[in-house]
Amino acid sequence: MADDRKRMFQKDLENKFTKEHGTNKMGGGDITDMRIPYYRLGVDQNPRKLEMKKVGKEIAEKRGLAGYNPMMHCGGIPLGQRALTPSFISGNDDMMVENDDLHYVNNAAMQQMWDDIRRTCIVGMDMAHETLEKRLGIEVTPETINHYLEVLNHALPGSAVVQEHMVESHPALVDDCYVKIFTGDDELADEIDDQFLIDIDKQFPAEQAEQLKSAIGNTTWQAAHIPTIVSRTTDGGQTTRWTAMQIGMSYIAAYGMCAGEAAVADLSYAAKHAGVVGMGDMLPARRARAPNEPGGIPFGNLADIIQTSRINPDDPADVTLEVVGAGCMLYDQIWLGSYMSGGVGFTQYSTAAYTNNILDDNLYYDVEYINDKYDGAADKGIDNKVAPSMDVIKDIATESTLYGLENYEKYPVALEDHFGGSQRATVLSAAAGSAGVLATGNANAGLSAWYLCMYLHKEGHGRLGFFGFDLQDQCGATNTFSYQSDEGLPHELRGPNYPNYAMNVGHQGGYAAIAAAAHAGRGDAYALNPLIKVCFADEMLPFDFSQPRKEFGRGALREFEPAGERSLIIPAK
């Protein structure tokens, strides 16, 4: 089957490596060629590098201080000694981008994805309603809830509700800030003004909606998004504080409470602590991050933040691949790449997993292999899954890895595109791990396949990634099913700060994908947290979480419109 199969990456790699881009002279040849001419054209062969070079020169002249100058590279030998080629966003036909534009600094969509996660928290309403009703004897009805939500949507962006002579944030700067609610209580949902409701029945396929409503029950939750501009100026820990403050004030205003009465403290406590769900946990002191920072977001939460599972539920591989893209960007490019390391090179590692359809090809091959051998086990469903035995893991991971390795050997341009072993290790293991999950519906079984892939890769090519990366990949099998709870955590609950993952460059998106695949493969409505899944089922968010890879492409093409811009308050250029 493998030899006859038309590769999904073929067209992208032909466009990338056998057609001229800019003036890189890459016209002609074949993607199976093992030898090519190297023209050593430098940065001038590439349109984006040329633009950067020109701007760098202008900036240096304007400020009288040296700046970007590509001739500083290698003592005067600039980038581009080989051809500088563009990339194609996986899963999106012909969406060609410059690699530079997939660095999050150059990509507004990537920034907004992280902004939208960091500025979000979910706050329960039930504790507050109980306080109002049982302690203060205030009646809470759908009408009062609607009124409260109207007040809160005024207050949450940073406006006054009960104070006098207060400064307020300008609404044009915070127009991305709002709150909506959701509930599993159909009767209440019917009574809530449409503008305030995330309607589970409308947003999710019926089967998923039933699962979600059953999990949420008659509880009611606020999906709050503080202004991007606030979140960027402060940190993830600000999200719950800002939200709780405005919620408290809005309860006072909406329900005619006394600003100083003790019940207000109960409302605040509920909003800040007892009834709030963050996207990420607080990190230990040595990582020194607040809640709602990327290192604390469990893989299961990210799997739920990404919404492809409700848009394309019958293609669990696609759901998986979208989570790979989102995870690589957030965890690898932003968290490990900047927060943790401060480097600029992580983009190169991460983009391998969501460009040029190489991972996509491997995973869809695996789906065909599994469905052929295990009677449709990779299709969406529960009864079709195969029991996660060691033999099954070994079989699927081995076939997936050998297929991927052979592609690198048959198609030298694929090897060249993933020019670092860390890139190849991520892609091969993401495919093997996700395939193991799709077949079994068990995330830890997929993780096990991941680690076998690492061993196979290393032995096949005599190389893997880099020192620390290898270390973690070679000891991971031992804690996949560890009986010690801190080591053997169910995969959905693990996250980028899990000990063996804390410096696994490029891997985090793959890990998140395993959490997603386990549940998308089964047809589950969510991976870990139904509240998070519903919270992000909202088209009003600037970033479209149902198709993160396309959004990254739009960002790279400079088509994405972010929130939190400051144009209003700065001199016009």
């Binding site: 290698c74 076998l452 560890s482 053997g488």
Partner: protein, 251 residues
């Protein structure tokens, strides 16, 4: 009966070559003078003394220590040499060695070495003269083809890139070039031009490289076909997994 190390499983030429690299029983193919080696490493000027970071151990009056008595210092340690490096890049197009097998060769056959293994390069740090001994060994033997492997301290990309039209592994700094059928080194490990051009000899032919390589490739010796190696990878994987699950299972 004395134990004889087997080093590596597998029935293919790649597996056999891996055993050779690990055991150190490799064929010597070329001669590189000490001065030439010193030039291309780029750490010191040929003919100069080894810079040292401490006096010779014999002059230092070492503390009483059973480990020190047990372990004979390497020559570099005895002399107080500084720590220096050699870093190889091996092409994935059938270069004879691969990073892990360079590391195994170093760790099994040489003392006082600190190998670091990456995908595109393999570095060994050691006392300078100890490092040179290793570098000379690996450069002069079948572990190295001068066209498909290269000493690169920085700007190392090339291992996974398509070869140049002349069959030489791409190097953005062009540290070596093919001239009249032999590989000439024109820059040291970190790309500084060198005064004397060092001749590393003829590249291996494609056939010879394919015969001597330690990388599995579908167009040469397919990994898929070395069943014993796959079986052992599976075995190691299963043992590690089960031990983590419940150590008692392994008893």
């Amino acid at each position: 009966m004395a134990y004889e190390a087997q080093f590596y499983p597998g029935a293919t030429s790649v597996a056999e070559n891996r055993r050779k690299h690990m055991s150190g029983k490799v064929e010597k193919l070329r001669e590189i003078s000490d001065d030439d080696l010193t030039i291309i490493l780029g750490h010191r000027v040929p003919g100069t003394d080894y810079p040292s970071t401490h006096p010779p151990l014999a002059e230092m009056g070492e503390p009483e220590c059973s480990i020190r008595e047990l372990v004979e210092p390497t020559d570099g340690a005895k002399a107080g040499d500084r720590i220096r490096y050699v870093q190889f890049v091996d092409s994935m197009y059938n270069a004879p060695s691969t990073p892990y097998f360079r590391t195994y060769n170093a760790a099994i056959n040489f003392r006082g070495v600190d190998p670091g293994t990456l995908s595109g390069r393999q570095v060994v740090e050691a006392r300078e003269r100890d490092m040179e001994e290793l570098a000379k060994f690996q450069l002069e033997t079948e572990m190295t083809c001068p066209a498909l492997a290269c000493l690169r301290g920085a700007s190392v990309h090339g291992h996974s890139l398509r070869l140049q039209e002349d069959g030489v592994m791409f190097d953005m700094l062009e540290r070596v070039r093919l001239e009249n059928g032999t590989i000439i080194v024109q820059k040291d490990q970190v790309g500084r031009p060198i005064d004397k051009k060092v001749d590393l000899g003829k590249p291996m032919s494609e056939e010879e490289a394919a015969k001597r390589t330690t990388i599995y490739r579908v167009d040469n010796v397919p990994y898929r076909e070395d069943k014993e190696v796959l079986e052992w990878v599976h075995r190691i994987f299963e043992k590690r997994t089960m031990y983590g699950y419940k150590p008692a299972v392994q008893e």
